[in-house]
């Protein structure tokens, strides 16, 4: 290559000048590329160079303003890259553009590039149509030619209609080159969509007789395809073709067309082929061409390949048409010449020609047999194959064995799958047609199976088996054949690596006919078959056939040996269903040998199976089943009609059940609207307005809860009104039903105020429309009463709020925003808070803004209370707020740890503030109305004992004397709340007996919560919890109660999901699941879960899921969460002051808090509070400082230092918390902050 390169380099300047070859200088870049490629030593380097080239081209093409000439250069390089297999998709569009825009050469190159890059299905071809159309219309012949060439390369079926007329037009073009290309374009159209060019066949004929030979020659292509498609239509053209042929060989064409002194050889070849097609089997046509063929044979005496080519074609034609002895003679002679030549090519042709001659002149092969044999042994593979082909054609009964042997030997040596399948077909055909003996046949077929394996089509095997099964008329021959087959297969199965098809054939044969073997025991055969089963890699069909053979043998033997049984048992559980069935069948059959023998009769493969389509043998079974109550069979029609009917019913049912198709009531219009849209300024009217709205809104109402606007806004949290997005108020009535206390309405009433205040613009209170309670699903009370109540409420509220609202509102809004965290609380707790809220209102202590807002917060947060579907999250603020509220109301009071004391003080306060106590507010839910009515009275005095009472109620529920605050939770369903007795938290069964709620003995000695916390429950099952505070762990005792009186629940499973910082131990092992198989009615099962933790988390909770199966075996699930307070996990640690002093510097993490408390407190009080809330042990109180210590479940030390400085009306509490873990410190600090807020 280097020499050449040198030459090239030397001649490069000539290239550039254009004196050599192509007149256009190649670009430098291209030169370098070619040079580099030429010089590259390895494929790897070449790859690298090409990649670089591609990226260079890509980058270059992105630049704007490339001249057409430059683009041409780049495109040529792209063509080169494409040729080598690189992806140059980015260049496609540029090629298209150049074809569109370029000058002559550029356009040509563009077209070239496009035809090389794209193919007819490519989407970019669409863009080309326009270009082609334009070019076809152009006056420039070269353009037209380019267009037509492109058409030939690229056009798909869809585009034909767009171009067909233009191309057709070109058939009449004066220039022959155009006509020639046009005809080729039409040829392409014909190939793609023959129907589209049907109308122009006439034109083709005209072209055939075109005065230009080139055009005529091109048209031959079309005719070849046309005639191949349909000979009859063009028979009349035979003469024409013969004439043309005559002219061609007669030298009527110009010298241009002569190629090595053969005139237009390719046209001749084409013509000969056409003639061959026309003359085949048609005497008359053939007669028309004899003369010309004769002439052709004579004329092609030229010692040149092309002459031979024509000759060869002529011979082929002669053999194809109606035989003419003279011609055949001549042809045979020519073939002889071919065969005798030394050129392999010619011998090849000779063999091929001989092959085609065989049907016509069988003897000819015999004449040249020596040559043939020579060719057969020639090392040239092509020649060998051709000779084999010849042999195949030559096969008769006499030479079949030899030839088959040859073919088989080739089959064994070749690796080419095409050849293999070809040979397999040939051998099988020969064997089937000419088998000298059956034995030979079987042997040959076996060989074919072995060598061909997967390439052998299945029907070949089938034929063989049929042959064996059906046999011939000669019985003894059949027997002999079968015996032979069996013997050979018996030998074969021993061999490893048999192809599947062979195994299948062998198995079948052995199964059917091994009884013919007199010298071999069936047992031995069985063994062989069993060993076949070991070969797991076989296909399922093969294994199946082995199985069947085994079955047959067993039937023949009359028993099933143990090995077979064991194998069957193994296969009974195998993955494939087919094998499983067979194994199972055999196992069944072995119990009944006569049956087995009936099922698998000997040599009965050709007998028809008697099938009873009515399955009458099952009649007995069916009647038995019917007698036992099985449903009778419904024929398909009936089933279908039934399902249709059912579907219709269901559809109907679905449509009309659950959906309320009653049309909406018309909304009540103006008075409510005007009322609600009262501008802020008219606050004086505020009081009356809402009442007006309430009344108008409420009046004339049916059981639907509508707000003043006449919209059903139940379940809506915030509604839009002119004043903005106001929060939804619970409907007083529904709340009453929901909660057990009668304080809901009060709470609700109270709540309205802050809401309204919070959303109003400023220092005024706006009446908000009373809206439905979110998430209520209790019964609706009559609305009339409600409306009245609302009216009264409103008036009461607004008058009360006006004074105190100012301070609250702004704060309230802020808090509301932050505090609305979806915390929900039980109604009980809500009551509590509402009570506090009202307390706040009544106390009218503007300085207590902090606390108040907190209350508001709580008030807000428990707005969601009544969304009872939610899992309730306990907010530990509740009781705390209680305390703080009591704090707020009691300026200098000690904060008592027990709530009861709080209540008392609160009561005292409220007493002071209010005039009368409404004790009947303690009545239950159903006395709501009374309560509601009484409320306004209370309200006017801006106090309520109700909350106090509610508090009291709560406190009654709580255990007195406990040093820990009780966490109250509500259940998730209304049912339980409704069911729950107001008096006690104790669970009651449906039958009235009480649930035993004692803790396990071992836990009794530890401090525990007496009251159960209800976690979740429904009408059948309840889950409640009791806390036990052991020193090292926090134990939760769960009571799973079935409180129905007659229904058993099964598979009760309580899964606990404590916060991640906990580890849960149940029954000694680390698990978080309690399973109880069955809980009898009115019984309870107790389990305890021990929780230990390493570190606290900022919010800890114990959540989980209770699932059970009720008496109808439906799975039910209930979810619960129970917050775990810091106090649950903090234990007091008794330290002396000295010890404290020692430990103080040692503990690492600390946090300092400074809190302002708006009332004067003493250290002692604070300590008590902390003790109560956190459970820490107060170590010492010195002056106005105090220290306390605690521990987190015996791990880690917590030290607290409190310092209180009291000013006039406020106290500043400085808190210093120290703990080993940062997190805990944070927790404690937060707790404290929360406590003091």
């Amino acid at each position: 290559m280097t020499e050449v390169m040198e030459r090239t380099l030397a001649s490069l300047p000539m290239f550039m000048k254009g004196e050599l070859g192509g007149p256009f200088g190649v670009s430098r870049g291209f030169q370098t590329l070619i040079k580099a490629i030429g010089e590259s030593q390895s494929k790897h380097e070449e790859e690298r160079i090409m990649k670089k080239e591609v990226s260079y081209l890509q980058q270059k093409l992105t630049q704007p303003d490339i001249s057409n000439k430059h683009m041409k250069e780049l495109l040529v390089r792209l063509v080169y890259c494409n040729m080598l297999g690189h992806d140059i998709t980015f260049g496609y569009i540029h090629a298209l553009k150049l074809a569109q825009q370029g000058g002559l050469v550029e356009k040509r190159v563009g077209y070239l590039a496009v035809s090389l890059f794209l193919h007819e299905d490519h989407e970019l071809i669409m863009l080309l149509i326009n270009t082609i159309q334009k070019d076809l219309k152009s006056t420039n012949i070269l353009h037209v030619c380019m267009g037509l060439t492109a058409v030939c390369a690229l056009i798909s079926t869809e585009m034909i209609p767009a171009l067909l007329p233009m191309v057709e037009d070109k058939l009449q073009h004066p220039k022959e080159v155009v006509r020639k290309k046009a005809i080729m374009a039409l040829h392409r159209f014909y190939l793609k969509a023959p129907n589209m060019v049907q109308h122009i066949h006439e034109k083709f004929r005209k072209v055939l007789c075109d005065r230009d030979p080139g055009v005529m020659g091109a048209s031959l292509n079309i005719f070849y395809d046309l005639i191949k498609e349909d000979v009859e239509k063009h028979r009349d053209l035979t003469n024409t073709f013969a004439c043309i042929m005559k002219q061609v060989i007669g030298g009527k064409l110009t010298n241009d067309f002569t190629y090595h002194s053969v005139p237009a050889p390719w046209i001749q070849v084409q013509l000969l082929r056409i003639l061959g097609m026309l003359g085949a089997g048609h005497k008359k046509n053939s007669e028309q061409m004899y003369a010309v063929l004769d002439e052709t044979l004579d004329k092609s005496e030229i010692n040149h390949n092309i002459g031979y080519a024509v000759l060869y074609e002529c011979v082929r034609t002669v053999t194809a048409i109606h035989p003419n002895p003279a011609l055949l003679e001549k042809a045979a002679e020519r073939i002889g010449r071919f065969l005798r030549s030394h050129s392999n090519n010619l011998r090849y042709l000779g063999i091929t020609a001989l092959t085609s001659m065989l049907p016509v002149l069988p003897g000819v092969a015999g004449e040249h047999q020596l040559v043939v044999i020579e060719c057969l042994d020639d090392p040239d593979e092509t020649l060998q194959r051709k000779t084999l082909e010849l042999l195949y054609r030559m096969t008769g009964p006499t030479n079949v064995t030899v030839i088959c042997d040859r073919l088989i030997s080739h089959l064994s040596t070749t690796a080419d799958t095409y050849l293999q399948s070809d040979l397999v077909t040939k051998i099988t055909q020969l064997a089937e047609r000419f088998a000298p003996s059956n034995e030979w046949f079987i042997t040959t077929m076996n060989q074919v199976f072995e060598l061909g394996s997967d390439l052998v089509p299945n029907d070949v095997a089938q034929n063989l088996l049929l042959l064996l099964a059906e046999g011939t008329d000669n019985e003894s021959e059949d027997a002999e054949l079968r015996l032979h087959a069996v013997q050979s297969y018996l030998g074969l199965v021993e061999r490893p690596h048999l192809p599947d098809i062979l195994v299948q054939v062998s198995c079948w044969t052995l199964g059917e006919y091994s009884y013919l073997l007199t010298d071999v025991e069936p047992q031995a055969v069985l063994w062989r078959l069993l060993s076949l089963l070991e070969q797991d890699h076989r296909s399922v069909e093969t294994m199946g056939s082995v199985f069947t053979a085994i079955c047959k043998l067993c039937a023949q033997m009359g028993r099933v040996p143990e090995e077979v049984v064991s194998v069957c048992e193994r296969y009974v559980s195998c993955l494939d269903v087919d094998l499983r069935q067979r194994a199972a069948e055999l196992l069944e059959l072995q119990t009944d040998v006569p049956l087995m023998q009936t099922v698998l009769p000997v040599d009965a493969s050709c007998e028809d199976l008697q099938i009873d389509p009515s399955l009458s043998f099952l009649d007995e079974f069916v009647s038995d089943a019917l007698a036992q109550g099985a449903a009778p069979y419904k024929p398909r029609q009936q089933r279908q009609s039934e399902t249709l009917a059912m579907a219709e019913d269901k559809a109907q049912a679905a449509l009309f059940s659950g959906l309320n198709f009653k049309p909406y009531d018309t909304p009540l219009v103006p008075p409510s609207l005007t009322a609600s849209s009262t501008p802020p300024s008219s606050q004086s009217k505020g009081v009356s307005e809402p009442s007006g709205s309430l009344s108008s809104g409420g009046s004339g109402e049916s059981s639907d809860k509508l707000d003043g606007l006449g919209l059903r806004t139940r379940g809506v949290r915030k509604i839009w009104s002119k004043d903005g997005c106001t929060k939804v108020k619970k409907m007083a009535a529904p709340t009453l039903e929901v909660t057990k206390e009668g304080q809901e309405e009060t709470g609700e009433v109270v709540q309205e105020a802050p809401d309204m205040s919070s959303y109003s613009g400023g220092a005024h209170v706006e009446p908000s429309t009373v809206v439905a309670l979110p998430g209520q699903h209790s019964n609706d009370l009559p609305d009339l009463q409600e409306d009245r109540r609302k009216q009264q409420l409103a008036s009461a509220l607004f008058s009360g709020l006006q004074q105190g609202g100012t301070a609250q509102t702004s704060r309230g809004r802020g808090i509301l925003k932050t505090s609305r965290r979806g915390k929900t609380r039980g109604p009980a707790v809500g009551n509590l808070l509402e009570g506090i809220d009202s307390l706040e209102l009544s106390s009218q202590d503007p300085s207590n803004t902090t606390t108040r807002t907190d209350i508001l917060t709580s008030a807000e947060t428990h707005d969601n209370l009544f969304d009872l579907e939610n899992v309730l999250q306990l907010d530990p603020i509740g009781p705390g707020i209680l305390k703080t509220s009591s704090n707020s109301t009691d300026n200098a009071r000690h904060v008592e740890s027990s709530l009861e004391e709080d209540f008392e003080t609160v009561e005292k306060d409220s007493k002071g503030a209010t005039d009368s106590r409404q004790s009947n507010m303690l009545e239950k839910t159903l006395n709501s109305q009374q309560n509601i009515e009484k409320l306004p009275n209370n309200r006017t005095e801006q106090k309520t004992e109700e909350p106090c009472d509610s508090l009291q109620l709560q406190s009654e529920d709580l255990v007195i004397g406990l040093d820990r605050p009780q966490v109250l939770l509500t259940s998730t369903s209304t049912d339980s709340i409704l069911d729950r007795d107001n008096d006690t938290d104790r669970m009651k069964f449906d039958n009235g007996t009480e649930v035993p709620t004692t803790l396990p003995e071992c836990l009794m000695e530890f401090p525990h919560s007496v009251e159960h916390v209800e976690l979740c429950g429904d009408e059948i099952v309840r889950l409640s919890l009791c806390k036990v505070w052991k020193p090292e762990e926090f134990v939760v005792v769960l009571f799973m109660t079935n409180h129905s009186s007659n229904r058993v629940v099964a598979d009760v499973c309580a899964k606990l999901e404590p916060s991640s910082n906990f580890q849960c131990y149940i029954g000694g092992t680390e698990s978080s699941c309690i399973v109880e198989e069955k809980i009898a009615p009115c019984s309870c099962s107790v389990h305890s879960a021990h929780l230990t933790c390493k570190a606290p988390a900022l919010s800890m909770h114990l959540g989980g899921e209770l699932s059970y199966k009720d008496h109808t075996l439906t799975n039910r699930r209930l979810f619960f969460t129970c917050p775990v307070q810091l106090s649950d996990v903090v234990r007091s640690l008794e330290l002396t002051t000295e010890q404290y002093g020692e430990k103080w510097p040692l503990t690492s993490h600390d946090k300092r808090l400074k809190l302002e408390i708006s009332k004067v407190t003493k250290v002692a009080g604070i300590m008590d509070m902390l003790q109560g809330r956190l459970g820490i042990h107060p170590v010492d109180i010195i002056g106005n400082e105090a220290i306390a210590s605690g521990t987190l479940l015996q791990q880690g030390l917590c030290l607290l230092h409190v310092k209180v400085t009291t000013k006039v009306n406020t106290s500043t509490v400085e808190l210093w918390v120290k703990f080993n873990s940062q997190l805990f410190t944070e927790c404690i600090a937060r707790e404290c902050a929360a406590i003091f807020r």
Binding site: L20, Y80, V105, M184, A218, N221, F257, I267, V310, N345
Partner: protein
Amino acid sequence: MLKFILLVNKQGQTRLAQYYEHPEHDRVSVERDIIRKCLAREDNQCSFLEYKNFKLVYRRYASLYFIVGVDHTENELAILELIHNIVETYDKYFDKVCELDIMFNLDKAYMILEEMVMNGRIVEMNQNRILLPIRVMDQATQ
């Protein structure tokens, strides 16, 4: 019908590849396989090869192999002569054509081939007629 025309050098580098039907398979690997088969053959052996389900007709000119893929209906010898005609035409145009000529004038080589074979059928074998449009174009742009 012609399936493709390939010009490959002895090292297996493709110099020209014209396909007349959209190849489904990986072109590069097939080309390599084909050239390998052709290279393995001796001089006195047939110029025809059976490859997969079609035939190859090849001829070597110096270091360049001209390989044509045809289906079974074609006259192999005629195709052989087609190859020779192509070479003769190139020779006429490029004046003693060599591999480099084809490399440096790839576009021209393709154009000439396009004149001769269209749709996978032989259209024009008259060398003058083949070269006429090319020459006209050359002149027009000179």
